[in-house]
């Protein structure tokens, strides 16, 4: 392909094994991340067909969705969760797939540990049976979620049959105001373009506000690209990326690292590259955000109010807003900063990194969690937990009345014991506020780690800027 190309075009072109007559491509996959929930049926399929895993060494498995976040030295009590984890352990042993066991300090949420270990690198194609695989796009890798049949396809062939997505650029121009974080940037973007705004596209995030983000922030932004409907999110790799990767266990070392960086530098979109869709957002307009509905696009600044369905001219949308407010137990016009919360959840692949825990601890330091509020902090990996403890963040959070737990997906989707009960309301640093997502009947407000910590202290949704 000639002419200026985007970052996505370059990674794609570098991975096409064959192009079929109708344009479908056989795409080579560099890294395959595997977890216990979406893989059992794929391994079962391999077994039934007598197929081996083509490149076990390009695969890494970990249990994250089901694992308890309380002391787990005595195993998993819940029988179905235990069966799923044991099934994964049997499958990785039978097929020779590398695995981080539950009690290994490298265990954690699959999208935290891939980058943390240097398993996910720029220019790679990375897949996982999990929609938040888009997270790894922060490194400048083409990373996307797949279903279980495709997990089996990658295990067997190290490729996928794919149609090329379209290019979309979202420029976040200028400087984000103090007190607004990466989470606020991505919530503002989803509010602007909607949950289907990126459907069929790979979004490349550009602009000064994105460049200024550290790797954790870029991962938060790319993580929720899927919430905008995108196939993947991308940030072009730069010095911030290379510095961050250097020395990680699986990353290339020494002269190999230098050779890799030379290749990675060439990945950035060429000047004049053409995008099918372009959106520009002024960073200066981004305030700390909070969602009020049951879709991530239902978002407003914390200084705002719950919308009034009567003001919505489209009858379908009006009915939808009314349904959401009923589910959420909110009144039209109610001030967001006056909504009381029962639970605060800080963690997930969106916001479970060390930087997120530091942001929460900065608010919690010397304060107390409000009476009646349960506040959980769940580090994204064993190594994040260890780092936080080395920095004394666990003490700050525990003294403030937060729970300090073991790593895993936890209350983001409530597959383990950590879930909301019917009617309970949470301020959560996770990624989805769908009905029942954090437990049947649970009500979720998506926020940044600082905003979640502020909500825990105030006992209601609160403006983190008042706590800085």
């Amino acid at each position: 392909m000639s002419g200026p190309r985007t970052l996505f075009d370059k990674i794609w072109d570098d991975h096409v094994v064959e192009r079929l007559p109708d344009g479908t491509c056989l795409l080579y996959i560099d890294r395959h991340l595997v977890h216990e929930v979406t893989s059992p049926q794929a391994f079962e399929g391999l077994r039934a067909a007598g197929r081996p895993v083509r490149r076990p060494e390009a695969t890494i498995a970990v249990a994250d969705h089901n694992v308890p976040t309380s002391d787990r030295r005595h195993g998993i009590a819940e029988p179905e969760s235990r069966l799923q984890v044991e099934t994964l352990e049997r499958n990785v042993a039978d097929f020779g797939v590398p695995y981080f066991p539950v009690l290994d300090e490298r265990q954690g949420i699959v999208h935290i540990i891939g980058p943390e270990q240097g398993i996910s690198l720029p220019g790679m194609t990375i897949v996982c049976g999990d929609s938040h695989t888009s997270t790894h796009g922060a490194l400048g890798a083409l990373a996307f979620g797949i279903g279980t049949s495709e997990v089996e396809h990658v295990l067997a062939t190290q490729t996928l049959l794919q149609k090329r997505a379209k290019n979309m650029r979202i420029e976040v121009a200028g400087q984000t105001p103090a007190g607004s974080s990466a989470k606020d940037i991505i919530l503002a973007i989803i509010g602007a373009i909607g949950t289907a705004g990126g459907t069929g596209h790979v979004i490349e995030f550009t602009g000064d506000a994105i460049r200024a983000l550290d790797m954790a922030g870029r991962m938060t932004v790319c993580n929720m690209a899927i919430e905008a409907g995108a196939r993947a999110g991308l940030v072009a790799p730069d010095e911030t990326t290379f510095d961050w990767i250097k020395g990680r266990p699986y990353a290339p070392q020494g002269a190999d690292f230098e050779a890799a960086v030379r290749y990675w530098r060439g990945l950035a979109s060429d000047p004049g590259a053409v995008y099918d869709k372009v959106v520009r957002i002024e960073a200066a307009t981004i305030a700390p955000m909070v969602t009020w509905g049951t879709s991530p696009e239902c978002v407003a600044p914390i200084t705002g109010a719950v919308p009034d369905p009567a003001a919505e001219p489209d009858p379908t949308k009006r009915a939808e807003i009314t349904r959401m407010l009923t589910y959420m137990g909110l009144q039209p016009g109610q001030k967001l900063a006056e909504i009381p919360v029962d639970v605060v959840f800080i963690g997930s692949c969106t916001n479970g990194r060390i930087e997120d825990i530091r942001a929460a601890a900065a608010i919690a330091r010397g304060r107390r969690v409000a009476r009646g509020v349960r506040a959980l902090v769940v580090p994204g990996s064993g190594l994040v937990k260890k780092q936080a403890e080395a920095e004394g963040l666990d003490r700050i959070l525990l003294e403030a009345g937060f729970e300090w737990r073991e790593p895993g997906c936890s209350m983001c989707l409530g597959m383990n014991e950590d879930k909301l009960t019917p009617g309970q309301r949470a301020a959560s640093t996770s990624n989805r506020n769908f009905e029942g997502r954090q437990g049947p009947g649970g009500r979720t407000h998506l926020v940044s780690p600082a905003m979640a910590a502020a909500a825990a202290i105030a006992g209601r949704l609160a403006d983190a800027r008042e706590f800085l």
Partner: protein, 207 residues
């Protein structure tokens, strides 16, 4: 995978936008290690109350829609998680075709792997079909994948688009891993070229 050629069946109207995969099958039912048996949990919170009793107003709890094999919905159907449990639950319930203005990408892909045909039609046509099938006795639609048409109860044919490759796999019920295995030589060559061009790359894996 079961072939999809033609289908004449009861269609259920579900005029909701953004039907996410947590709605299709909540996470608490993902603890299975099998593909089958998820139909009883399809749309669990919409279908059943907190005591497990059927909600009589939900479409799949009403006749004739209990026997629906086609579902018609609004925009962005299947958004959210990549869980293939969503199409597995639909299939286990008996749904072979979903019609909507658009679908989330991963869900759309997952349907084809399970012999489910997702059909994109403009919102106005989806609403016309929803009106058709809301008249109980008229609740049948016919789908012809070979000719790429949906046939309304009044006989009117509505054409739809589909990728030729996906259509071929569905019509013949083909396992695409078998298809890809036929390209094993090309995959070998690709891997060798890539390792030669970027010698650092193979060193970043561990057995």
């Amino acid at each position: 995978m079961e072939k999809f050629t033609q289908l004449t069946a009861i269609a259920a109207p579900l005029p909701l936008a953004n039907v996410d995969t947590d709605k299709i099958i909540p996470a608490r039912f993902l603890k299975t290690i099998h593909r089958s048996g998820l139909g009883v949990h399809l749309f669990d919170t919409l279908r059943f109350d907190e005591h497990g009793a059927e909600r009589p107003d939900f479409v799949l709890n009403r006749e004739p829609y209990r026997r629906a094999q086609i579902l018609i919905a609004h925009e962005n159907f299947g958004c959210g998680s990549s869980r293939e449990h969503a199409p597995w639950a639909l299939l286990d319930f008996g749904i072979r075709c979903v019609i909507a203005p658009d679908f989330a990408d991963i869900f759309y892909n997952n349907c084809f792997k399970n012999g489910i045909l997702p059909i994109r039609l403009p919102r106005a046509l989806c609403d016309a079909l929803i009106d058709d099938v809301a008249q109980g006795d008229n609740a049948r639609l016919a789908i012809d994948l070979e000719r790429q048409v949906v046939v309304r109860p009044n006989g009117q044919e509505i054409p739809f688009e589909i990728d030729p490759f996906r259509k071929h796999l569905l019509l013949n019920g083909l396992d695409d891993i078998g298809q890809t295995m036929a390209h094993a030589g090309a995959i070998d060559a690709f891997e060798q070229n890539r390792a030669a061009a970027q010698p650092w790359l193979p060193k970043t894996t561990r057995a």
